[in-house]
Symmetry: C2
Subunit: 332 residues, 2 copies
DNA sequence: ACAGTTCACTTAATCCATTCAGCGAACGTG
DNA sequence: CACGTTCGCTGAATGGATTAAGTGAACTGT
């Protein structure tokens, strides 16, 4: 590749012996232009030879929008799932010609609007419900907002992480029910930042219980402390509860640890199932039964959502893979 | 804030009754311009009232560089530390007027160069050593490269994660030595992607052992499997080893779990110390002694590094806080 | 042979912020 | 009072890509 700092469309035009307009038409494959193959070849060759890449600022200025996809980082703690999603989404975005930029301004709406003004991103992906003022501004300025929380018109495709939480709870309970458990507890963090998901997962669990004619799920919040969790396990056992769905693997493993303090072991005294299938779940003692989230499929479909929202037909259809799968190990 | 899609400097100029040049001078506080306070006030008021924010594309086009800071995501698995750093760096960058964009193209050098060409970022932060061709291009095009691996001229300030790994190993061994351990094992992953860090941490451990006149550290690679790790613990004990530094908390907790399979417990049979101080370390059984990484200070100083590399004097001096601190719990 | 099309391009305007060069008025100095 | 300087501003150029509006030549149909 050429080492010269700046190669513009004009350079390519000069080398190819055509005008800058022609270069643009050829390189963007602008429809409705009649340009013979020979000329196209010359332009492409010149661009290749010079290592020409269009400068984003020029393009953005003209088009009124950049190639940035802004991901508003959720307020909740970045666990393994979000971390991994960042990596996958970055890759997915870049393979489609977008650049993923991160933003933390989900709560500061004025600042968010100001940032959208300057950046003029192609799309904003948010895991929050953004306020109407932002939606109004986005509409006026041509920024597409893709919410991963919103109710979708077509529930078959695309990504709705609230819906996904419900599936998780549903799956946990159905798995436990299959193993013969009927009195089930639900353990979730006392962290307000994850409240929405905790409630989603609990809701899925509750409804699965109802559908399966099980007694109502007992839900409990706790701080992440071994002793307290161990005590809870003892208490639950006294109430005849035989299995627990934990909000995620961290909590499941903490519960396992607390149980050990009181001489209890999974699945014998209390079966435990987590969610996220973190690396350490496989090496917990006992190895933790969990729910694996197909983040690759999530990321892929999310970028398809973005493209559709931008009016581009995705080149590869949505990944139909199941988003959540049970990973059965010893703890339940 | 105004809801109109596009407010340009010209709009502000019109409202304030001055020229676009004056608006730019006032809003950028351009030095060497004599503009009375009264006019400045008028311009600022107009900008405020209209909700004017300069459009990045225009600015970038003129200045030749954008406000993007491109972070080349490391090839290694995104653990809790990287995930958290992303969040902190995003925040830190945005508070200084930059936007953090992620890139995955650390290995594809042609693609990386092409991306730098289009994006014209202010700086690139990399955790790899980038090839010379990229450095040459960056120099020619005015992109600043901040490498988090490189040896620094002034070891007092700034961020060098390779140096940080060495500190981690050093700290682990000194802590164990203080508790009376002398024969120490080092456990690290068989994942090539973290090799550089594993070696750095081991090196720190080895040198601490030498400095303290301890016998040489025994290092071992393993897959993340309970049985194998348990067997290793047994083997080490037969060799008289009484304490183990693990590459990180995941491995430490897996080792703890493997030990339990063979009836061994920390710290009695084998003391175990991890690194990262993940959320679950506190609730492991026994609670895991670990090394906490001050990622806030890392991120802050890293952005200071970026600013200095860009020729801006950081408004707040480097955070002098210790980057690594021991969190003593029961496992060692 | 002449109007009407199509082809293969080019010209020039546009997006927005920044900044160099400069201009008229006021001020200061000898 | 003439000259130089500073003040307070403005005009116009600049950066790179896109695209509406053309232009001259070749071609088609009658």
């Amino acid at each position: 590749m050429n080492t010269q700092a700046k190669i513009t469309g004009a350079d390519v035009a000069r080398v190819a012996g055509v005008s800058r307009a022609t270069v643009s038409y050829v390189l963007n494959a602008t429809p409705g232009q009649s340009i013979p193959e020979e000329t196209r070849r010359k332009v492409k060759a010149a661009a290749e030879q010079l290592g020409y890449v269009p400068h984003m600022a020029g393009r953005t200025l003209r088009r009124g929008r950049s190639d940035l996809i802004v991901w508003i980082l959720p307020d909740w703690p970045i666990g393994s799932a979000v971390g991994e999603s960042i990596e996958l989404l970055t890759r997915e975005a870049s393979s489609r010609g977008f650049t993923l930029a991160m933003l933390n301004e989900g709560n500061d709406h004025n600042r968010l609007e100001a940032t959208l003004r300057t950046l003029a991103p192609a799309a904003v992906v948010s895991m929050h419900r953004l306020p109407d003022s932002i939606h109004r501004f986005a509409k006026a300025s041509g920024v597409t907002i893709v919410s991963m929380m919103g109710r979708r018109t077509d529930p078959e495709t695309g990504v709705d992480i609230l819906q996904a939480s419900i599936s998780v709870g549903d799956m946990q309970v159905r798995y436990l029910a299959e193993r013969g458990h009927s009195r089930i507890g639900y353990l979730y963090p006392d962290d307000v930042r994850v409240k929405e998901f905790a409630i989603g997962r609990y809701k899925g669990a509750r409804e699965a219980a109802k559908a399966l004619d099980l007694p109502a799920i007992r839900k409990r919040t706790m701080p992440l402390q071994r002793e307290r969790l161990g005590e809870l396990a003892v208490e639950w056992r006294e109430q005849g509860i035989t299995a627990v769905c934990a909000y995620n693997d961290e909590w499941a493993m903490a519960l396992l640890s607390g149980m050990r303090m009181f001489g209890l072991e999974a699945p014998h005294h209390l079966a435990v199932i987590g969610c996220d299938n973190v690396l350490t779940a496989a090496v917990a003692s006992p190895p933790l039964t969990s729910i694996d989230l197909n983040l690759l499929a999530y990321s892929f479909n999310m970028m398809n959502d973005v493209e559709r929202a931008l009016g581009i037909e995705p080149s590869t259809p949505d990944d139909p893979a199941a988003f959540e799968t049970i990973v059965a190990r010893e703890s339940a």
